[in-house]
């Protein structure tokens, strides 16, 4: 049963790694392009949030499954 905890922490940790790097690149690009063309700032922000939600998807699924494993499977 202890392996379940290691599995869950691997899932959450690696997902967080990917999300962190992805959001960082996305945010950096937003800042660059807003500095280049401030009048598009609002539109770019909307699209950034959209992309952030999409990036979040698979890591969140991983977190959901990991939580399920910890609290329901491993009691």
């Amino acid at each position: 049963m202890e392996l379940v905890y290691i599995a869950a922490s691997l899932m959450i940790g690696l997902g967080a790694l990917g999300t962190g790097i992805g959001f960082a690149i996305l945010g950096g690009k937003l800042l660059e392009s807003t500095a280049r063309q401030p009048e598009l700032g609002d539109q770019l922000q909307t699209k950034t949030f959209l992309m952030a939600g999409l990036l979040d998807a698979v890591p969140m699924i991983g977190v959901g499954i990991a939580m399920y494993l910890i609290f329901v499977v491993a009691g």
Binding site: F49, L50, A52, G53, L54, D56, A57, V58, M60, I61, G62, V63, G64, I65, M67, Y68, F71, V72, G75
Partner: protein
């Protein structure tokens, strides 16, 4: 809490994560489940009554609110309800206009329904964790999981509905032959690579509803578990954690409803593409 269970943290969490399941138990007959194992033994055809009830309630609330705003609509100075409803409708219209490149009168109402319904169901998440289960426990109902979108049945159900629409419109706009040709000849336009194309395209097609449903479920379920975990802390610590998480969650709720809507519209737009 529930009669007869010991008040450990694990039991509290499991109690709050258990849906109100109604089905045919092999021993107890048609009844409500009294625990996770009983719910599992009821098999596939057991229904989560709380999910069904709250999702239908939110749907009725959405229809009633928007109908009331539509009937009371004036060209004079608008009231607050009309303002909010108009803002939402214009927002959805802007989104659909940007994302949908076909000609179909069903898409914009569908997008509006998805957005507002999912947003209302997600909004139930901000009700404090213990209120609904305690209230219903006093009425004699043992389990009550308030947010329908934390149930993968609800989110995958909606995603499969959208998937059905994708297949229907693909077949209607492209014809069965055109659809099959697109599936088998898309990345590589050569007859020898048809099996490869088919595998890639079918997997791509099946991933769409799966990712739609699971994305919403994962976000909401993880948020719910964290709310429950925060509820286990001593009361003087609870606020410092709960307030930022709830504020962040307001963003997540809206964002996830929006993403579900936009992705459904984009997939339906892809289904309407002619070459």
């Amino acid at each position: 809490m529930a009669a007869g269970s010991d008040n450990t943290a694990a039991n509290y969490i499991q109690h709050h994560l258990q849906n109100l399941t109604f089905g045919h138990h092999p021993e107890n007959g048609w009844s409500l489940a009294h625990g996770a194992e009983e719910a599992r033994e009821m098999g596939f055809w057991a229904i989560h009554l709380d999910t069904m009830g709250w999702s239908i309630a939110m749907g009725v609330l959405f229809i009633w609110l928007f109908r009331k705003a539509g009937k009371m609509a004036t060209t004079g100075v608008p009231g607050p309800l009309q303002n909010v409803v108009e803002m939402i409708i214009e927002f959805v219209e802007l989104t659909v206009r940007g994302a949908f490149h076909g000609r179909n009168p069903v898409i914009a109402p569908l997008a509006l329904t998805l957005f507002v319904w999912i947003f209302l169901m997600n909004l139930l998440k901000l009700v404090p964790v213990d209120y609904a289960p305690e209230l219903f426990a006093r009425l004699g109902i043992e389990y009550m999981k308030l947010v329908p979108t934390t149930d993968p049945n609800a989110t995958l159900g909606m995603a499969i509905g959208v998937f059905g629409l994708i297949i229907y419109y693909s077949l209607k706009v492209k014809g069965v032959g055109g659809f099959a040709k697109e599936l088998s000849l898309t990345p590589f336009n050569h007859w020898s690579l048809i099996p490869f194309n088919l595998v890639m395209e079918v997997i791509g097609l099946l991933v769409k509803p799966l990712s739609l449903g699971l994305r919403l479920f994962g976000n909401m379920f993880a948020g719910e578990v964290i709310f429950i975990l925060i509820a286990l802390l001593p009361f003087w610590v609870m606020w410092t954690l709960n307030v930022p998480w709830a504020i962040f969650h307001i963003l997540v709720i809206t964002l996830q409803a929006f993403i579900f809507t936009v992705l459904s519209v984009v997939y339906l737009s892809q289904a309407h593409e002619h070459h």
